[in-house]
């Protein structure tokens, strides 16, 4: 390995970490402002001047300053590790997302599998947090997380498999290269299933049964304060970024845009990510929370059959066109 090669890798990783630190904050800010406007409330407008842009930074500073509280009965080690376990997988996934032709931190042949596998690990963070808090709300939240994960993992993987079949490769870069605009129609069902299942895995509204602040306070996060709570929030926004990035890459052509050359790739991808993030926020604001039985019903009676139908459609089209 040459020095240039090492430098190349290091540079890419630094870029990824930078994006990882920046993008979730942007999404968070977007959520704050979009929600505020949608719900016709102004929200903080002073921090940093324009539209209170520094409010999120101020929140972060506030979190850092807050006291670390660990419940007496809690499993201290697991309690402390949980935010890291929840956050780190998203960083790893981000490293595998191609942002332009050849512009990817780590190009894995089985990239999609890697992404899905690592994503599923992050759920462990919630479960760990829920169990180790020694709080019944937290425990209930942890168990809801586990149940939700098990239910939505299947349609998620099946929808991803549909794209993989269409593209004939597991590599994320390969999928982007194989993508054609008419896939928007062909893989529409898979896209919906993937996106919805992803939302559920992230426990974003309307699938936020595990958090459900009106029922079980804040689920696994109930006992968390200060920086650790901030890390969980960061993990949530990082999750949104990763989900949107994966959806964009798999179903929306990733860095490919309707015009402009390949050098505009990162721009196109970012645009798609933020568009999808806006949809996530929009859905959160506009839909009520599902009950747990509705949640399971949606997964097993709608999403799984839909993804299976999509898989069959993909197979048929694939055979016909080849």
């Amino acid at each position: 390995m040459t020095v240039a090669g090492v430098l190349d890798v290091v540079l890419r990783l630094v870029l990824v970490v930078g994006a990882f630190l920046l993008l979730p904050l942007l999404v968070g800010q977007l959520e704050h402002k979009a929600m505020a406007h949608m719900q016709s409330r102004v929200g903080p407008m002073y921090a940093g001047g324009f539209h209170g842009w520094a409010q999120l930074v101020a929140d972060g500073v506030k979190f850092v300053q807050k006291e670390h509280v660990v419940p007496t009965a809690a499993d201290r080690t697991v309690f402390s590790l949980a935010p890291a376990v929840a956050l780190l997988p998203y960083l790893l996934v981000l490293a595998a997302v191609p942002v332009g032709p050849g512009l990817v931190a780590v190009d894995l042949p089985a990239g999609l599998f890697f992404a899905l596998a690592v994503l599923s690990v992050s759920v462990l963070g919630s479960i760990m947090a829920g169990w180790s808090s020694a709080n019944k709300y937290a425990l209930l939240g942890g168990m809801r997380t586990a149940a939700q994960l098990l239910a939505y993992e299947l349609p998620l993987v099946l929808a991803g498999s549909s794209v993989v079949m269409a593209a004939g490769t597991l590599s994320l870069s390969g999928i982007v290269l194989a993508w054609r605009p008419w896939w928007l129609v062909w893989q529409a069902a898979a896209a919906v299933v993937f996106f919805v299942s992803g939302l559920a895995e992230l426990a974003r509204p309307p699938f936020d049964m595990p958090l459900a602040d009106s029922e079980i306070v804040l689920g696994p996060l109930t006992e968390y304060t200060g920086l650790r709570f901030a890390l969980f929030m960061l993990a949530e926004y990082a999750g949104i970024v990763v989900l949107c990035a994966l959806t964009a890459v798999l179903f929306l052509g990733g860095w490919r845009g309707p015009f402009g050359d390949a050098s505009l790739g990162p721009i196109w991808l970012l645009a798609k990510i933020f568009l999808l993030a806006f949809v996530v926020i929009w859905v959160r604001v506009s839909t009520p929370r599902l009950r747990s039985d509705q949640l399971q019903r949606l997964a097993w009676l709608v999403l799984v059959p839909m993804s299976l139908g999509q898989l069959a459609l993909t197979g048929v089209v694939k055979v016909v066109t080849s």
């Binding site: 499993d75 894995l108 089985a110 599998f113 168990m143 586990a146 098990l150």
Partner: protein
Amino acid sequence: MTGAELVFVPLGAVALGSSVLVVTTDQLVRAALWLVVALGALAGCFLLLAAELVAWVQVLIYVGAVVVLLLFGIMLTRAPIGRSVDLDSGNRVAALVVALGTAGTLVTVVVGGFRTASIDLGDGSAGSAGTVGAGLFRYWVLPFELLSVLLLAALVGAIVLSRRDIGPRARDGGED
């Protein structure tokens, strides 16, 4: 020692150490978490052996599904936080003897048998999705299909076992 070996040995140590912790820790949930570590380290070992697809499947299925299921089960059976005094049965000594005997025998045999054998990893394409997929669907189709039937049977079985409105009534209420 090659580079791969240099990485493999610590990974293996992690896998072995955490698996020992899985069977010795006196905290149930931590056993499951150590199992995650052990399985992750093993996935790394698979990667080093050029079995990429297997490694990711390992993480996806084992860490993402199996361990979550196990944790789910642990929580449903009301595991306590902290130490449990009774995680080990009275069978420990015999188990230790048998396990050490197994380890001794197996290590002796495999070291004797494979002392000089060496793996040539080649271009690393042996474990790619394409190769494995081709092998799977070209030569292993029948077992693959059988496996799907097995999974279906397991699915049905699990549903029958856990639903209370099917099959014989439970004798006492018990859990929620």
